[in-house]
């Protein structure tokens, strides 16, 4: 009988993942890596997108030079943030934002994302919720 117990990265209290570029890869940690399904999921949500983004990368140099892990591309449940290797920057698909607030609450450990709510009446609109 053998038990497969994964070893998760655990930080010390008070420490953040920012600056920790020596983390084991998600594959090594045994995280699921299925094909992206987010686009299908977002297709089920009704959006009324504003013309202007309510999300902003504060300093793209931080994404480029300091954040090797591109944390936001994993943490955002709507996959709003994507790393474009050619342009060396994060693109922000704000139209599909579910307004949860992950990116302002540690989803970017560098606190490099400014999130506001969309203007009244704009954004995601749940029919079930």
């Amino acid at each position: 009988m053998s038990i497969d117990v994964r070893r998760f990265f655990r930080r010390k209290p008070g420490e953040t993942a920012a600056g920790r570029e020596d983390l084991p890869s998600p594959e090594q940690l045994g995280m699921p890596q299925p094909a992206p399904t987010v686009a299908n999921k977002l297709g089920l949500v009704k959006f009324n997108p504003d013309t202007e983004s309510h999300l902003r990368i504060i300093d793209s140099e931080v994404c480029r030079r300091r954040c090797r892990q591109k944390f936001c591309t994993h943490s955002c449940p709507a996959q709003v943030y994507r790393w474009e290797e050619e342009e060396k920057q994060i693109t922000v698909a704000f139209e599909g934002c579910l307004e949860c607030g992950t990116c302002r609450s540690g989803g970017c450990p560098y606190e490099n994302i400014e999130m506001r709510y969309p203007r009244g009446g704009f954004g995601a609109q749940y029919r079930f919720g």
Binding site: M31, P32, S75, P77, C100, G120, G121, R127, F128
Partner: protein
């Protein structure tokens, strides 16, 4: 909204359970109150992986279950310890929860909150939708109103009740928040609503017509990360979701939607949702920092209620009930202050005293260490369910090994996975955190 300086007794920011309970109670008490909601309607931005409880909800909106849009009254609560291929299932079921006033309900927040807002408007509160509050208006050190995103959208009032939810933009601006939501004190929940005919739901979940089940799952569901999976039955849909503490999600670069997909593919879950068509995907943060992460609950001309005030009992998955109660207490405080015309922090401090006497502060204080404990004890979510399943599997497998040999084998396994001292320490700390 026309006049630049519309004036009210109270402004409530946010049309969720906390804000609506506050606005409803204020309007019933004869105060002029405006409630601002950024969505197209109350609930259009909301989702939950929890239940609406009759008693606390009924204490604000009497006998709501007779008219409100509810999905199912919950008669069964399950807790599963799951591994990849096995599960230990604990189930509680009672007929007591099947009769009025029931105990809890599954709901769609998009329709339930909308119904609450209609009751609030009918009670005399002015509901303004599609309106984002962007800033607070100050008069010296006192909060005197709000600035909305509308042209000439300044509103003034004696008191502002902040019920903005988990993203505490205004609570932070009011200088009341000592620890704004950071990864260590929030959980990210993602959920899918899957459609299945009502009879098939009742067959699969073994339910009487109209009755519902709520299942909470720890273990493999979240890839062993600190969090839970959940399954709730609605009338003709099933809600399936996972909630994980954000810091461990970020550290491990796990994607919430991938955890959800894996959860849905787990055999015990897959059987329940097979053939059910996805109808909606949603995501929301839950403030799980507990008592020590609550903001100051009052200041000059301001009160904070609900998720904005960190009022979530993560251990029992309670939030909406605490939001409703806190909104009601905030309104009662304002009504009392209104009689004396004093809305200073000293007078509004009565809110905190009222809350001391409720389950809100009593339960949050009781479980203050629980979130911290769970977030530093990941193995509780991964290893222990595995060990429990191994124990059950070994004892239920009849083969050539004697029971004494099985005991020895299991003891060896336990010791190899958890040193005895660690095991004792875990139990001691769990006991300390939960009692």
């Amino acid at each position: 909204m026309s006049a630049a300086t519309s004036r009210y007794d109270a402004i409530v920011v946010g049309g969720g359970p906390a804000g609506l309970a506050a606005a409803y109670t204020l309007a019933k008490g004869g105060a002029s109150v405006v409630c601002l909601e950024r969505g197209d309607w109350s609930g259009s931005k909301n989702m939950m992986g929890g239940l609406i409880y009759s008693q606390p909800t009924g204490s604000v909106f009497p006998e709501f279950w007779r008219e409100a849009p509810l999905e199912r009254h919950v008669t069964r609560r399950d807790m599963w310890l799951a591994t990849g291929d096995s599960a230990i299932k604990l189930s509680f079921e009672t007929a007591d929860f099947a009769v009025e006033p029931y105990n809890s309900f599954t709901v769609y927040r998009s329709s339930f909150d909308k119904w609450l807002s209609r009751q609030t408007a009918a009670a005399g509160a002015l509901m303004i939708r599609e309106t984002l509050v962007e800033d607070l208006l100050w008069d010296g050190g006192r909060i005197a109103g709000v600035r909305t995103g509308r042209p000439q959208g300044d509103l003034e009032a004696d008191v502002v009740i902040i019920a903005e939810g988990v993203n505490t933009f205004l609570t932070e601006k009011a200088g009341l928040s000592p620890c704004p939501p950071r990864a260590a004190n929030v959980a990210l929940a993602v959920k899918e609503v899957l459609a299945l005919p009502k009879e098939r739901i009742e067959d699969r979940f073994d339910l009487d017509p109209g009755a519902g089940a709520a299942i909470e799952i720890i273990g493999e569901t979240t890839g062993g990360l600190p969090g839970t999976g959940f399954i709730y039955t609605n009338r003709d849909t099933i809600s399936v979701g996972v909630g994980v503490l954000l810091d461990s999600l970020v550290d491990n670069r796990a994607e919430a939607y991938n955890l959800l997909e894996r959860f849905k593919q787990q055999s015990q879950v897959r059987r329940l949702i097979q053939g059910a068509a996805p109808r909606e995907y949603s995501a929301h943060l839950i403030p799980e920092g507990g008592y020590s992460c609550m903001p100051r609950l009052y200041g000059d001309g301001v009160l904070v209620a609900g998720d904005a005030a960190g009022m979530v009992n993560a251990i029992n998955s309670e939030g909406a009930n605490l939001a409703l109660l806190s909104g009601k207490m905030a309104a009662e405080t304002v009504l009392a202050c209104r009689e004396r015309g004093d809305f200073s922090a000293a007078a509004l401090g009565r809110y905190r005293l009222l809350l001391e006497d409720t389950v809100i502060l009593k339960d949050l204080r009781k479980y203050d260490n629980a979130t911290k404990f769970l977030s530093t004890h990941h193995h509780l979510f991964g290893l222990y369910p595995e060990l429990m399943a191994a124990l059950a599997r070994e004892f239920l497998t009849v083969d050539q090994l004697s029971k004494a040999e099985k005991e020895r084998l299991l003891l060896k396994l336990f010791r190899s996975q958890v040193p005895t001292r660690r095991l004792l320490k875990d139990f001691y700390q769990a006991w300390r955190a939960l009692t």
